[in-house]
Amino acid sequence: MQKHNANRPAVMDLLEHHGGLAPGVSAKVSEETGVPEADIYGVVSFYTLLAKPGVARVCQGISCAMAGSDALADALQAKGEPYEKVSCLGYCDQAPVQIDKDMELTKHGPRGSITPDDPALPINLGGQDDASYSALKAFEGMDPDAFLDQLQGSGLQGRGGAGFPAWIKWKAVRNEPIGTRYVVVNADEGEPGTFKDRETMLRRPHRLIEGLAIACKYVGATTAYIYLRGEFPAPRRALELALAKARPHLGGLDIRLTMGHGAYICGEETALLEAIEGKRGMPRLKPPYPTQVGLFGEPTLINNVETLACVPEIVLRGGDWFKNLGKTEAGSKLYCISGHVEKAGVYELPLGATLNELVQAAGGYVGTPKAFSPGGASSGFLPMEHADTPLDFKGLTKVGSMLGSAGVVVLNDTVDMAAAVRWQQIFFEDESCGQCAPCRIGCRMQRQAIDAFIESGDVASLEHTEDLHWEMEEGSICGLGMVASLPLLTAQKHFPSEFEGS
């Protein structure tokens, strides 16, 4: 049991400072914080950047693997340099990538592209970042209910993956009984294929900070947290600079930057809260939802970077304007694209754009496309029959997939589907938090099944994949386990000939 005045939120930074998982470090951090030593050991062994500090990391995520990241690992191996293979580094547009012990990019392919400057776009990555905070000022002159009408009218759906209407959460937190409340920015972007928040923070950090400030003022929070992926030092620098510049506009609002330490699951909103509190990133049971019981037990609004970055222009130009930017659903959307396309990158298109439209923006396909993932590993694979299906929240769910974080990955016919499935299943096995049995056991089983199939060509290796998927979907605590079998299941469904065995 921790001491009454224990400083748990300091645990992670102290662990990093003292060298992570090494004998004696947990004891030292325990002394400094009043958190029991065993608890601290539980934390340090959970986060990969703490459990294995000071080594180079090579990405073996699907886009990097297709771009030949094995060669990077082999080179390090040959040099005898210590390194770790990880299943996502968040630079799929620049595949294949490697980072050094300080998380800085040391090896990468051509830089990704973006949509060129177009002031008609709400985020407009290509534009000059605007530090005037005019939207914040405009918001302050608005009646809160009139603002909510605009937000509701904009149809803005959460951009973190679930597509939940933003206004409902904002209203819920505002309406909680008087008391402390928090706003938390989910900048833990870790879904393989996704790097839009990274670009937003690098290029338009003031958009995010302004959206965040509006959120805080609206719900009545005086402290906000930005939980930033640990492997993102460049966005960190951009945010720190922007925060310093923004300060005079923020009226004393306390915005804290908390770094992640290598755990995809901390992108799940309740695991993220646990991480900020200095604990193992294991998702909480819902209900209660964070809007009621969130950070440190207080009502908390959690939004994705892109969601908040849309807000300033909604304030300035109105809900209808934003809504009408969309095709099948409201607004424009940052789509990430990588894999077998000419110019991987982030493109801001009307929500509901199709794969073919997106690839057109990205300079066309490389080779003959065969399959794609519309929303990262969690969305499984779709065949090219869906190249003209709108990439939106509702429509993709109907075809057994999802838009998720809009991390689109294209695979051409040089890729063997079983190999592609394997990369994704490795990702889920690595990233399951391990607290609930369906996911902890199921993720490993599905990876072993595809491995066994690849090795033996025996279809019997795959005979239980559907049962496992059913149980993981039905019985897991959080979204990770619920979708973790989709790469395997959707590939089996859409590409049966590749799973007939030999």
Binding site: S26, S30, A38, Y41, G42, S432, C443, E471, M482
Partner: protein, 359 residues
């Protein structure tokens, strides 16, 4: 003033049942006699909802919900044995089996005082037999005299950790690692003796599978054991103990279930593990008096008390009452301590009396 929780009604497997606001579905199921299997639930700690055994179907919810944590609501319609719930239980049990040490019958090995996972498999059946996952568990505890931990029999219900934290307030152990590698560990994998562990053995008591067991009792088969209720006499608290015996020897000590006795399911290191004194050859079992030959001889209680009284009175007469002192054992009850100080003050006339647990 405490508010009385409002009564409400819900439908459980087609029948109307009453519940109070704030209760969980598991509370209601238990009261109604429903067989809802659990692994990670235990009344003394907060629900975690992670073992997923107790999931039930709640109308209006997209997925099955953990009854141990899901709160009752008026008008709820709940199913504890629908086809969906049954399929879930069997598949989940199949998965657990693939991550558990099995015996010759492909059932979870029994150890300690039984394995609830095995019982669930027998009660609910399983789905297909799944290949073993051979989880790479890197963390293991070292030796200590009392607590054996077998990661291959652990279902990671986290009860041991939560008990150690929430009930004992000791936090000697933790979940460590991530994903399939997750296991129960100590800081830096030190031996328990080098941690804050108090060897209360509560982690053993709450473990549903026997992955944590009493090391001194490892060789004993719990089905061969007879259970005798007794009162621990190591101190005055009066914890109730169940002495497990085989061939008239105590081989294991457990506590009666939580909620039934003063110790609420808890014991300390002495009550749980110091059982060897009962059969120890040095244990005094009858009164002894030293004879003129300088050796101890068995005698009657009557004589022994007489000899002691004479000796004490002799010292008092020769050297005065304050040359005597009385110290009582921490094993005495409050009443016994009272009597001893009365003996000291009223019978012998000295204030030199003390209790060894008072500092």
């Amino acid at each position: 003033m405490t508010e009385t929780p409002t009564e409400l009604t819900l439908t459980l497997d087609g029948e109307q049942v009453h519940a109070k606001d704030g209760e969980t579905l598991l509370d209601v199921c238990r009261r109604a006699g429903k067989e809802v299997p659990t692994l990670c639930a235990e009344d003394r700690v907060d629900p975690m909802g992670s073992c997923r055994m107790c999931l039930v179907e709640v109308e209006g919810q997209r997925r099955l919900q953990p009854s141990c944590a899901f709160k009752v609501q008026a008008g709820q319609v709940v199913q504890t044995a629908s086809d969906k719930v049954k399929r879930h239980r069997q598949l989940l049990l199949s998965m657990y089996l693939a991550d558990h040490e099995l015996d010759e019958d492909d059932l979870p090995r029994e150890r300690g005082t039984g394995n609830q996972l095995r019982q669930h498999v027998l009660d609910h059946g399983t789905g297909p037999k799944l290949p073993a996952i051979n989880a790479p568990r890197e963390y293991r505890m070292e030796n200590n005299p009392y607590i054996h931990f077998d990661p291959e029999a652990c279902v990671l219900c986290n009860l041991c950790v939560r008990y150690c934290d929430e009930v004992e307030a000791v936090s000697a152990i933790t979940l460590a690692g991530r994903g399939a590698k997750t296991t129960i560990a100590t800081a830096d994998q030190k031996g328990l003796l080098d941690t804050t562990c108090e060897m209360c053995g509560g982690c053993i008591a709450v473990c549903p599978t026997g992955a944590m067991t009493e090391k001194p009792s490892l060789a004993s088969d719990f089905r061969e054991e007879e259970v005798v209720r007794s009162t621990c006499n190591f101190c005055g608290v009066g914890c109730q103990v169940n002495l497990h015996t085989q061939d008239n020897k105590v081989v294991r000590v457990t506590s009666p279930p939580a909620g039934e006795t003063v110790n609420d399911g808890n014991l300390c290191i002495k009550g749980r593990f110091s059982m060897e004194f009962i059969q120890h050859e040095d244990r005094l079992t009858q009164p002894l008096v030293r004879g003129d030959d300088g050796a101890l001889h068995t005698t009657t209680w009557e004589n022994a008390l007489k000899v002691a009284a004479q000796g004490l009175m002799g010292v008092k007469e020769k050297y005065g009452a304050d040359s005597l002192g009385f110290i009582s054992s921490s094993r005495c009850t409050g009443e016994e301590n009272y009597l001893l100080q009365k003996l000291s003050r009223a019978a012998f006339g000295t204030n030199n009396c003390h209790q060894c647990a008072a500092t």
